[in-house]
């Protein structure tokens, strides 16, 4: 049986950039014990000689000619922005102070 502790879930939530309350972390950790048990069944038949399928279509890279076509205006592109400034998306600080 695989299980995930509260701290394991907290680490995953950090990687996924989701703040979580202690209550939520504990609840998820309990649920994952059951869910992981169920999904681990895939290992019963996934032997080394079976190839992996990532996609239903046998796709190669798809190319198109590099031609200029109309695109969104700056106003349209910014229309859903939570905050904007000088025709740009205004975002919180990304880099730390020097």
């Amino acid at each position: 049986m695989t299980s995930l502790s509260r701290d394991d879930v907290a680490k995953l939530a950090g990687l996924a950039r989701i703040e979580m309350s202690d209550e939520e972390l504990v609840a998820l950790s309990n649920e994952f014990t059951v869910i992981l048990d169920a999904v681990a069944r895939v290992q019963e038949v996934a032997s080394a000689d079976v190839a992996a399928t990532s996609h239903p279509l046998p796709l190669r890279n798809v190319f198109r000619p590099d031609v200029v076509i109309p695109s969104l205006s700056p106003a349209d592109a910014l229309s859903g922005a939570p905050a904007q400034e000088e025709q740009r998306f205004r975002v919180p600080q990304i880099l730390g102070e020097e």
Binding site: L12, A16, M20, V39, R41, L57, D76, G80, P82, V91
Partner: protein, 498 residues
């Protein structure tokens, strides 16, 4: 007027018996009358729909040649972008967002002059089987308002059963078109993967997601299928080949000499008695129509559910990273000096619901270093085995069939706290998505124990979608002559319904 099929409405529009404005208004009136109880819609675009209808009436008056469904109204699942119209995906994180562009499906609907009434409710980001995971409250099944309408496309299916729209668009990642169709007594089709463009379909699991038609008859679904399908340079996974002749197939409904394979593993234990009985009756009707019924085995289908709940969460954990509070949607905690990371963390905490978080975390785990091979890698191998099972079965049979879901509609709240029980709804629909083939659900009657609709699923090989329409039309015709009227004519009347 609103109880007609879409093709009957189209004929009346073409003959001048009714106008699109009158038809659209009749549906808007029905929405006003019943949607407080049903809650199929998240947004109704009254002005836009009437303006579109008026423009179509004017075109028709001027003698312009119009498409087969021109002037007929439609309900659009809220996962598809429509320029200037709110698109929430049933999530708080997109509340109030008005996309600056049309999805290809919407562009095709507009090109075909199909009137878009509004956006329908869904499980948040299409994750769920009951529409209970919508951040805006559940949709109620018009057959019994205390029950679920299926999911994730419960709003689209319920709008058809409540006569709020004769056509709808759904998307199907693991059954989100077919399972709602089954539990509401309507028709839903997941085309071959790549048959309909995904451009502008907000991504959940990109290798599984597929948009398709929802309707009340097989022919209506086929007409809508041809209107939205076809190659799209904006979607690199769109198939560059002619659209299968699904309308011709739906009109012929010929199954003489066709081999129909019953999938042994998708029946029996866990399937409700009434579901099994309606399935057996449907097989008898198809045999009487000239089809040969054979049994096929797909031993790896029993692993499909487990593989799905690794692949879909893995892909969603990556796809939903785009909701980062920077360029559109909700932003929380943007106070002076707050870092981008803390804004992302707080926004995603508030903006995402329980099931979405559960799947993102599960996917993050399944893809993480040290666990990747055991989980995501193994699930990809199961995907190969399922595809091989289908390939072998299609050597014996032209199409495969099963019940669409193990049970009829359950009560709202009944499975809300048991994710695994909820996931079992999709046990018969998921294999289709894993292999990228086509799947249809159409009504086969009601279960004797609860009087609720039961769905019959037809699966066809890649780009042979016409086959499921032939079989669907044959079964629909046989059932209609047995019943004397469509199944939906027996649905209990909603309070205030027109």
């Amino acid at each position: 007027m609103i109880r007609n099929s879409a093709s009957e409405m189209a004929a009346k529009l073409a003959s001048g018996e009714i106008t699109s404005v009158a038809l659209t208004q009749a549906h808007l009136d029905q929405i006003s009358a019943v949607d407080t109880d049903v809650h199929a819609f998240l947004h109704v675009d009254t002005q836009g729909a009437l303006a579109q209808a008026a423009a179509i009436d004017a075109k028709r008056k001027s003698g312009e040649k119009l498409s087969p469904l021109a002037g007929v109204p439609l309900a659009l699942k809220d996962v598809m972008t429509q320029k200037g119209i709110p698109t929430t995906c049933g999530s708080k994180i997109l509340e109030g967002w008005r996309p600056p562009y049309d999805s290809t499906v919407v562009a095709n609907l507009k090109k075909n002059d199909i009137v878009i009434l509004g956006k329908t409710n869904m499980d948040e980001f299409a994750m769920g089987s009951s529409t209970e995971n919508s951040a805006y409250g559940p949709t109620h099944n018009p057959w019994d308002l205390t029950r679920i309408p299926g999911g994730s496309g419960g709003g689209s299916a319920a709008s058809l059963a409540a006569f709020e729209a004769p056509l709808a668009i759904g998307t199907d990642t693991g059954g989100s078109i077919r399972q709602p169709a089954a539990v509401t007594g309507t028709v839903g089709v997941k085309p071959t993967y790549g048959g309909v463009s995904r451009y502008g379909l907000v991504a959940f699991s990109s290798s599984l997601d597929q948009a398709g038609p929802c309707a009340r008859t097989v022919l209506d679904a086929a007409l809508l299928h041809e209107a939205i399908a076809g190659h799209d340079p904006k979607d690199s996974t769109s198939i560059n080949a002619p659209v299968p002749a699904v309308v011709a197939a739906a009109k012929s409904g010929n199954v003489k000499g066709m081999k129909i394979g019953v999938v042994k593993e998708l029946n029996g234990d866990g399937y409700q008695k009434g579901v099994r009985n309606r399935f057996e009756e449907s097989l008898e009707l198809l045999a009487a129509a000239g089809a040969e019924i054979v049994e096929v085995s797909a031993p790896n289908f029993e692993y499909a559910l487990a593989a799905y709940y690794l692949i879909a969460p893995s892909e969603c954990s990556s796809n939903l990273a785009r909701f980062d509070a920077m360029r559109y949607g909700l932003r929380v905690g943007d106070i002076d000096g707050a870092s981008a990371e803390s804004v992302m963390n707080l926004t995603r905490e508030v903006g995402f619901g329980r099931e979405v978080k559960r799947r993102i975390i599960l996917g993050t785990y399944a893809l993480s270093s040290g666990y990747y091979d055991a989980y995501y890698g193994s699930a990809q191998k199961v995907r190969t085995l399922i595809t091989q099972d289908f390939n072998k079965a299609f050597e014996i049979a032209d199409v495969l069939v099963s019940p669409t879901c193990p049970t009829t509609a359950f009560k709202i709240g009944e499975k809300a706290n048991d994710p695994l029980a909820m996931y079992l709804n999709d046990i018969a629909t998921i294999p289709v998505n894993m292999a990228g083939i086509g799947g249809m659900s159409l009504p086969s009657g009601v279960a004797e124990e609860d009087g609720l609709p039961v769905g019959f699923q037809i699966m066809s090989p890649v780009m042979k979608d016409d086959r499921m329409y032939s079989v669907g039309a044959a079964l629909e015709a046989a059932l209609l002559s047995k019943w004397g009227a469509p199944l939906l004519s027996t649905i209990p009347a909603l309070a205030g319904s027109k």
